[in-house]
Symmetry: D3
Subunit: 330 residues, 6 copies
């Protein structure tokens, strides 16, 4: 079975037109209505299943809101909540339309500069709708220049408590990036790197040993730069396995669109910490002119990596996801 | 011959005590004197050669100022200049003390929020002292929250013109990081990633085809995440070799303290774009308890990588450096 | 003939989904494509003509971008330009689909904090597409707290020169409003009031006697509060007709959804300065439960006002618009 | 009987020289003394009664501090308190000098950015001196760019509780305006509009059904633009009388210096919500060159409006004020 | 003859009431009128001459605007100009009323954050009215937290050029102080100290050898702390007389209300750099309960200092002023 | 016996190199180690005793951290703590090396913008190490533009309570100064002046009658400008001895490098409030070319002042220090 834990809502344009309206009105019209109909969604789902799951052999895809659309740094806060709820509702509609093929991963209505507890109610709502995990944006300021508390900071503790209590994992994924000289795509890598280093520095897993954190995109730069962190943290963790032991407290997805990167990831963190993910359709949905293959068609790539074996592949494709997402019941 | 292009000034404490004084007085006492003596430096050089070059088989090391000490975001500007000059002077003293073993790479007195032309005079001064390259900090605000112009922005053009005119390469390396939840060590990786993406997006090499940019630490996250960028830039560069062709316009050093990372780097960018670098002594100067080896002792690591051949190794250890740094005359 | 000078683009959701994408990517994907097809637009236009023009007896409607969607305060600037151009393109498609029933009024890519000259190129582009006027946002900061130069300030002169040179009028209409305790709807009224007072104070029409400024929504609060301004400006304009003479240098539309307001407007400024406008469909598209009538169905309202005569009505419904918009050629 | 509820302190220059001194010293000299003497005030009162009450037939005028002088945004807070107290003291002296002709309406020492509870003590002090109402500035930042909590926000609740408890009404009137391209005179209209919309949106009268709010200057732009608000709020209040039912929870004064505006006001809100007010002497104290009449001589204007009857006029001139200001005991 | 070079406008309250009105209206009413009459001023002058000159034996007093009232940090700029002009006009009226007893020292309409050239026109206007010098505020931000360019900075050069060209001296005197934990009175001392140190550090007198700078209040803290500066600047000026030689390029007034301070001042800078000044009436107008004397009655104090002789006293009381203020023609 | 209460740590360069490293790493490496050895310190102490105590006849010197190095405004807070602790440790090492010749005065890890209670733990630590007093920086923002609470503000009360409870005095001394047009040297004088005025204004000694405050550098500008303050505070303290009685609640040191200043100080505040201090070596360590004497060699200067007698000298040189610093046990 192939479980792709990193997919995003695929909704008709009216969902995003709804977002544009919220930003224009600043919520003056109230929550309003994203205009999603069961019929419209059924059509979208049908196309999505055919083109983005069946065609590449994915059995089940986990859907979270499209991260760079989450607008966590916008004000007033109510439009962030309206918008996040609309996304989670759209995901719930997809899951309802194809319950064997999808699972929901809730976006959070994180708002820059306010307590993280403001998101807990939406988590409860989503869990009641059958969602299996959440997605955390490490920087709700979206690169705007104000520094967000690191993922190891106590700011996040109420959320971590909730996660442990409900036994739900979180996918780490930043949203947009306001730095005019950066891009959301670089920024997700930078924030994933920061997330790992912050949590290792702070000993977060000592406080929350059962916390499940999945770092997107193969962990940003960390596995590639792992030697640097082995040295940096060497003294601190010398008697407990060094930085590598810390790194193995995280999970990672395989949203890396090149074989060399995947190979390195598996070598550094081990297949028992990796889950298949493609973000299909998304950034990787590009047909390489040389090979003629879609870059986000990662199943054959992983199947072709010779340095791992069948049990590794089973870990990656299904077993780790099953363990990490107990609510998925797959 | 082993040429290590990424080493930093190794000076006695009085150099850094001088910096502390500049920050305390804000330059009220004038430039003052870092108190470096030929005798004191000779001793430092002797130890450095013995422990950090001879012991690991390095023939020549290129010295630039220790980047995280450069305090580019401090005010008033004059103390940034004083301090940068003192560093370059210390490097010149080292080179003078052991002219066969060192080359100088100039730090730049970059100041947050002012034109880049303010650094040109110091470049001239260093070239007259026999330096062979420069080091650029992509973010003189040092992560303070104000966005620095991307390396593809026209802000940098006067510097690029100077580099082309003098035929000197630049090592890209950020300085400190003021984000209380980040570290200078992550930040260098993030800014190296941004540097590559900004210059590719802006087509900087179309404007300056002879510009030589060396991205430190194996290019941040880019080689590892290269698939993402192949997709992201796919359409734009489809007829000119895709993102890989762009990536091969940059140079990279080998300051990656793990074999898997180095292996990936060579595969993605090719040995003809790579130069040996260790930053020894520096972050990597940590003895791995398991192997008993220093993590920054990279020569045996590179010699042990099986996916490259002798000509690759010659590229990495000496030939690319010779080509990129014509002033080094090695 | 009934000419409604105040209508806005009526596009399918994909246009606004495009805006959401620009805000999410901050333009990292380039301009991209709003996904408007001639077929999709034809359908939208057909519905719009049937429901919003034919049903209420409007012969021709002038279309400008939906103001509160213009996001002038967003960064980077390029997304403001992309988005404005997409809006003007959508309007051009509507006009092309029904050339007898529509005219285009160009939105401007105004960006907070940059010179107004940055919009001139888009004006030229729109004029080449046959547009007949422009719409100006008096506050590109969108109520964010930074004060925009008043409409009488020299900041705007290059735009006024362009308008006079091309003989095109401008509709004054603010965009969104970032003040969390205000709304875009109040804010347009406040900025229209400010616009009139700023231009009267500065004597803008002395510098640009042929400038044509149309203040939306019946001039904000000015006609209602006119006595206050008569007193305030009394001394300054005592020998030239007082404030009323100044007020008659502006034009006004009739986007006031109550009879008493319209009656007052015509009494204070005269029918020769008024143009029929409804913003249909828009805020006023609400069916009054008592009367059962749509509030923006203003034609019968104006026809029912007894204090004006037939020539006044002809002024309001068509003649003033013909004079003010010579490029409309109606 | 003619009761003018909107008059302001008319004090000798020494009161304002005192203000200038407070701003210059920032309160370093302590509270000091505004130098008001019973004799000096008696003279001022005598002139005021003769010229601004007797001449126009006003029997009683309610005096509040001259709003644009209140300097609520200045720091340190103590000078705002000193100054407000001096104003209220001056009013108390006037009332004492002519107890049949004046009533006091207390200015509040509102300070930007601090809790509204800081004004409660001054309310108590003024009530002990026999004052009959208070005046609220909806924006103590005085248009400086920081957004003040809307009048419907819970920020104001302690003040509303106090008002209900003491049964005192409040006149809504902004102070100065720091926006260099706006004026205090426009700004009062804008903030009055915002006040109504904020309180309607928030359902403030549901929480405080006995709260008495008097919106100055005929309610800013609201009665003129009422159709827009009928549409905007239509859905929300469809079953409870629409926006008009909400609007009738406010009171209004007649400080509109033109007949058409007054006529519209009475039609929209009804005479049972209106109170005579002139702000004489003030902005309207201008002799219209055409008519030869003072613009703030509103009694004959109201008497001449044909669309209202005698009971309406009685409402406006005295009855509503009697009901709203029970402490006035007139 | 006794010449007191440090006195300030003594105007009736209407002048300061005018200031309060400017701050309230932000200049919306135009320049308006401070309401000064020849009659009113004649009365003020008569009292002033009797109480503040004749009674203490002053023959001529130089009048400048009361510094802490100058509101240089207020916006918009036009009210700073209006207010400064009104002050200078009031001074001109005083001088006209008693031409033998007064001279005018012009206040400057300095505005925070704009070029100093904006004050030059007012200097010309005052010189045409017969003024003899100017007063400079070293910090037009008035301690608000934004750093003003030091008096040695090139920012001030256009003003210094004007001063040299017209041969007019300047009195250094700060205005108000916005730091809530400081006072205008401390702040003048701090800024006078900064002025001297900045100009010495920058070598301003090397650029403008004929510039005449009079530091108020006996030079702030400098003469008292002179040893510190002798050491601090020792090396820089060792061959040109040390810091003392630099200090003697400035002039000082005697506005020090204690004998020990005056004694120290004369010893450190010499009587040939000192001018009699009292600021009477002002801060020092306090009757010491012990001695029964007014603290600003400095003539007998200076006459009683035994460490100076008659020629020193002549210097202080008249000769230096005659030399420094050639336009005074006394 | 000669007790010099105002000396500063004299450590080898490695201490300041440690500071430079903290600023570069922002504490990412943890507290680390300043690299002070007993041997290294013994050498430094030996030289210091010989050159800076024995040579000028000082028996005991009190050592506090070098103030301008304290970097209180830097972030993150932890590096301020690390650095302050290292300084206090260095002082403790000096005292341990020469217990008869030194006493420790603790620097405080004050951090801009956080509660003063954060320093209390370090006070306890230092008292346990035998320190005898503390040093307070009145502006932890170091002149950066944010206003620090005045020394009379309740912000400081927890610190004052601690001081009274432990019976330890505090030396008032600012640190660096970020104003690019000011210097740390002027700034200490300005903040000392502010300290006195703030505490007198606030009546701090009424709340803490046993509080012991020693104002460095002879009290900034206050004794020199004392007449101004006598007048300014005259009315407030008329019945309790005027400003002079207030001033005598403070203590002062003699770090004034000129005889006239010292003479004035003793006259104004009396020898019973003065303690010998030299800051040797420091700013005053300059040999006057004329006299050939070191400016900070103040013992002969004080011995030469004729206006004081032997008991005054005993006060200054030893008795006051003994009384104020009971923990010194000298």
């Amino acid at each position: 079975m192939i479980i792709d834990i990193h997919g995003h809502t695929n909704a008709p344009p009216s969902l995003y037109a709804y977002k544009a309206g919220l930003l224009a009105s600043k919520g003056a019209h109230g929550k309003g209505n994203p205009g999603l109909t069961e019929e419209g969604m059924a059509n979208t789902v049908k196309n999505h299943l055919a083109n983005n799951l069946d065609k590449v052999g994915t059995d089940v895809q986990f859907l979270s809101p499209r991260p760079f659309q989450l607008m966590h740094s916008e004000k007033p806060e109510k439009i962030v909540h309206y918008w996040c709820e609309a996304n989670n509702d759209a995901i719930a509609m997809s899951v309802k339309a194809a319950p064997d093929r999808y699972r929901g991963v809730a976006g959070l209505p994180q708002c820059a500069g306010v307590p993280i507890t403001n998101v807990l109610e939406e988590i409860d709502r989503c869990m009641e709708m059958g969602f299996v995990g959440i997605m955390i944006n490490p920087d709700p300021y979206e690169g705007g220049g104000t520094h967000s508390p690191g993922m190891g900071d106590e700011y996040w503790y109420p959320l971590y408590e909730k996660m442990v209590q409900l036994d739900i994992p979180a996918l780490i994924h930043s949203a947009s990036c306001k730095d005019p000289w950066d891009t959301y795509s670089n920024y997700s890598s930078a924030t994933e790197t920061r997330c790992i280093i912050s949590m290792v520095s702070s000993g977060t897993f000592d406080v929350f040993p059962n916390l499940k954190i999945i770092v997107s995109h193969g962990g940003g730069a960390v596995p590639y730069q792992v030697g640097r962190y082995r040295a940096f943290f060497g003294r601190h963790f010398e008697n407990s396995g060094g930085f590598d032991a810390q790194l193995k407290k995280f999970y990672f997805d395989t949203v890396l669109y090149n074989e060399e990167g995947l190979d390195l990831l598996f070598k550094i963190v081990g297949s028992d910490r990796c889950m298949f993910g493609t973000e299909n359709p998304g950034t990787g949905s590009y047909r390489d002119p040389a090979s003629g293959k879609m870059l986000d068609d990662l199943k054959p790539v992983i199947e072709g990596i010779e340095t791992i074996g069948d049990s590794d592949r089973k870990n990656i494709f299904e077993d780790v996801a099953r363990k990490v997402f107990p609510r998925a019941k797959i």
